[in-house]
Amino acid sequence: MIHYSCKYAPIELFAAFGIDACLLDQEEENFERAESLTHANLCCHAKSLIQQSLDKSDVIIMDCCDSLRRVHDVLDFEGRQEHLYFLDLPHENNGCSRELFAGSLVKLARELESQTGKPFDKQRFFEACAQASWEFPQEDFIALLGGRVSPELQRSIENEMSLAVVNLTCCGSRGLEPLPEDAADMDLDSLMAWYAYALLRMVPCMRMTDVTGRRVLLEDPRLKGIIYNTVKFCDFYSFDYAALKDMTALPMLKIESDYMPMASGQLSTRLEAFSESLGLPAKQRSEKVHNMQGKYFAGIDSGSTTTNMVVLDGSGEVVASAIVRTGPKAERGAREALEAVCQQLGATPDDFVAIMATGYGRDNIPFATDTKTEISCHAHGAHHLNPAIRTIVDIGGQDSKVICLDADGEVSNFIMNDKCAAGTGRFLEMMARSLELDMDQMSTRGLDWKKDLTISSMCSVFAESEVISLIADNHSDNDIVHGLNKSIASKTASMVKRARGEAPFMMTGGVARNVGVVQELESRLGDSLFITESPDLCGALGAARYAWEEQQ
């Protein structure tokens, strides 16, 4: 059995010697072994590949990128494989490069002949080549594009989407040209010349010099949307994504994966929001019975730090609201919020017609009658509060988002930060702890600064040590907090640009209460931010509006 990781690997050649091939593509629980042999910042697929290859006897690595080249070096250095093959892969697809590649394939064939003691079996080679094909489905579908996705991640995506999902990432779309008619009469050199041509003719991955052939991936009329994956520390596909945004009008969702099990809450929020923006039916849920005798409609936003609830009466007016700490369990926070609004209204849970849940904990609220993502709910709430708004900046406890709206208040684009805490409320809390300040002090201290300090570190852990160094150098709290505000504003403004957000801007989420951050962000955006008295409640208001509108 030969283990491989790249679609350009000549697995049909191995088949000609009776050797089956197995793709190494699984997720890993952690990268402890790989990081002890290489570096934490190597491509996450490469790290998973190192771990999966270490105990395999036969492995082929293609020289297709810097990271895989280093995977080969690590495996070679460790020396545990019986056979470790490394094959040069040209970047070009022209006569000279095909000749060079064909030469490498012939050399490999000779090597396999001597290792296995078997001759090159043409028939087996032809059968394997005939099996290497792919095609678009005959129904509407969503394409998975970009960097490779693990089978585990692909399954999670398929489970969330109501359309077929087709893997067209760098390792998908592996297919060879039909064999030439006179293949049976060809000698090994001629066959390898054709095979080199066929391999280099596959839909190119981004490491090739000429990537115009990738256009074919977008040309099928049944393609309804794109989920674009980038793998952490693999750089190729952020370039492709940036170019693709200008090339296609198809709806796109960008996700980042790291070959470890993904935080399901964050992934499902994005996928559900994407489904909502495509107008696709939501995945099947058990229907909750609405209490038609009730008189209130509520939205509950279960976030990582706080759970927020807004209640509307039959005419759609806000009659109660609550903000409580979420605590360790989403359900408990939600019940506390419900109790708080019931107390305000002198009501009981039976008085609610519908309760729409949103936020990370939305699926864990037993008394909710329906759910919607916080992306849609923020947009809906913001549009209700100020229909002119075109871009929402939401900075909550554990994530930050930029949501772009069209004139009808529908989501036209959104992006979220990934696993990194930099630029979120959690980041500010960490820094406040280092400075021994409370959050109210953090909000105002940075306004009265004297020395213009810059906290340059991108990473919140690095930033914390930078802050500690500044404290040790006797810089004032005010100057340090101002530096931190600039850092968050810079990261957020960059997200706004990436999302192509336009004025008028609105800011929601707990960090909107931080005057210093708001001021810095306004200066970076060159425009003012519309902020309501309770910026935390926008998502819950949107959810409540959805609940109310559905009954009208």
Binding site: N41, D63, R70, L100, S238, A242, T454, M458
Partner: protein
């Protein structure tokens, strides 16, 4: 922290970049013209003066490429440039420019511009910065872009994007990782094609005599450098991170130009002059990969050098076989194919070990520049490999041009602890 003047200049350039990229470019040109001028007035014979002279030459090249971009060919740092020098064209090398920008304390606006245009935060900072300089409109449109696939994937991403951005012709020299004569022929053929393309686009003829003259100078430069390296293990020199970076540029992009030859001659003279004094009692460090010469805390340790001395860098001497003026195209191809940065990591490590031993190094620093998968990937192997050969090794995470990816205090602690460790080993 940079000097107050540089900091102020950096702030002004950053502001101008947003409002008027032309003014930002003019300010950068004024700053680098000053560096160029300052280099011309260095009369001393030591390594620092030699560094300032060649640094001035490099800064002058940047200014030329900005002033007459229609004669500039944008290249990556590993592209052999003898064809370009022989045709009287100017190399524009944005990765080198990134290091200069970092030393002008204005990198932030450019890096942020790239990230706002969807470039991953984890991408190589040199390339991220150079794209920011281009896409903010500060770097002017060159005649064409030519890059090698060696030594890293970043070339395959940044340069096609810049070619598209500027809408200029683009040529890629594809370098196979197999070190063989077949690979040399494959690469040499591409240099012939590139020469034809340069002739077409510039309207200039590639005069074989001019190319020969440039190649002869390249040969002299490498010959002189080899002689200086042969003495390196016996002497102590007043080197700096910048002098090592200048050596790197002199054996790559500037190879074939008089400034590079002069630098190597100065280096040899300084080595010969230091020979009678022998080695000083300093810890001798051999460096792997690029150097963070923008970083004050590292300058305090490595440039002021009260306790240690940089005795070499693997990239500067990764491919220093003698050029053959009779076969210029094959020479350039051979330099790429047989360089230690091509092919398996063990080639690179074996050559680096030989160089470190020749330079009488006490220890090795493997500098993991942010985003460089080539060096990150070999860091633990390198540590194991050098330590097995008796050279203690420090794997140091940092960034050659973007302060945002650096934990300064942690780097200082690691470097100082390593120097203490090496001193203890000596004692």
């Amino acid at each position: 922290m940079p000097s107050p003047f540089i900091k102020r200049l950096g702030q002004v350039i950053q502001r101008q970049t947003v409002t008027s990229p032309d003014r930002a470019r003019a300010l950068l040109m004024a700053a680098y013209s000053w560096v160029n001028l300052a280099g011309k007035f260095q009369m001393r014979g030591d390594v620092r003066a030699a560094t300032e002279r060649v640094n001035g030459g490099i800064a002058g090249t940047i200014v030329d490429s900005f002033r007459r971009p229609q004669n500039a060919v944008m290249v990556n740092i590993f592209m052999p440039c003898e064809l370009i020098h022989a045709m009287g064209l100017v190399p524009m090398f944005p990765e080198g420019l990134s290091a200069y920008i970092a030393n002008t304390a204005c990198e932030e606006v450019f890096v942020e511009a790239s990230e706002a245009n969807d470039i991953a935060e984890t991408f190589c900072s040199y390339h991220k910065l150079m794209m920011g300089v281009a896409e903010t409109g500060v770097m002017p449109r060159p005649l064409m872009i030519a890059n090698t696939t060696l030594i890293c994937d970043a070339n395959q991403l940044s340069f096609p994007r810049l070619a598209n951005y500027y809408d200029v012709p683009h040529y890629v020299i594809d370098v196979p990782s197999e070190q063989s004569e077949d690979s040399v022929r494959y690469v040499a053929d591409q240099f012939y094609e590139l020469a034809a393309m340069l002739e077409d686009l510039s309207g200039r003829r590639l005069d074989p005599e001019s190319l020969r003259e440039v190649m002869v100078r390249s040969r002299k430069t490498i010959e002189t450098y080899q002689r200086a390296l042969a003495l390196r293990g016996k002497v102590s020199l007043d080197t700096t991170m910048t002098s090592e970076l200048c050596a790197m540029i002199s054996t790559h992009i500037m190879l074939g130009r008089p400034e590079a030859l002069r630098f190597m001659e100065d280096l040899l003279k300084a080595s010969e002059a230091a020979l009678p004094r022998g080695k000083e009692d300093k810890v001798r460090l051999f460096w792997i990969h690029t150097l963070p010469n923008w970083q004050d805390s590292m300058r305090a340790i490595l440039d002021a050098a009260p306790q240690c001395e940089l005795v070499g860098t693997d990239i500067a001497s990764e491919s220093i076989a003698l050029p053959d003026p009779d076969h210029p195209f094959e020479t350039m191809a051979r330099r790429l194919v047989y360089g230690s940065m091509n092919g398996p990591a063990k080639h690179r490590l074996e050559l680096a070990l030989e160089q470190a031993k020749d330079a009488n190094a006490d220890g090795v620093v493997v500098f993991c520049h942010w985003g460089c998968k080539q060096t990150l990937g070999i860091s633990q192997m390198a540590k194991h490999f050098f330590e097995q050969a008796g050279l203690p090794t420090l794997v140091l995470d940092g960034d050659g041009c973007d302060s945002r990816n650096v934990a300064d205090g942690q780097m200082v602690t690691r470097m100082n602890a390593f120097i203490e460790q090496l001193k203890a080993v000596r004692a």
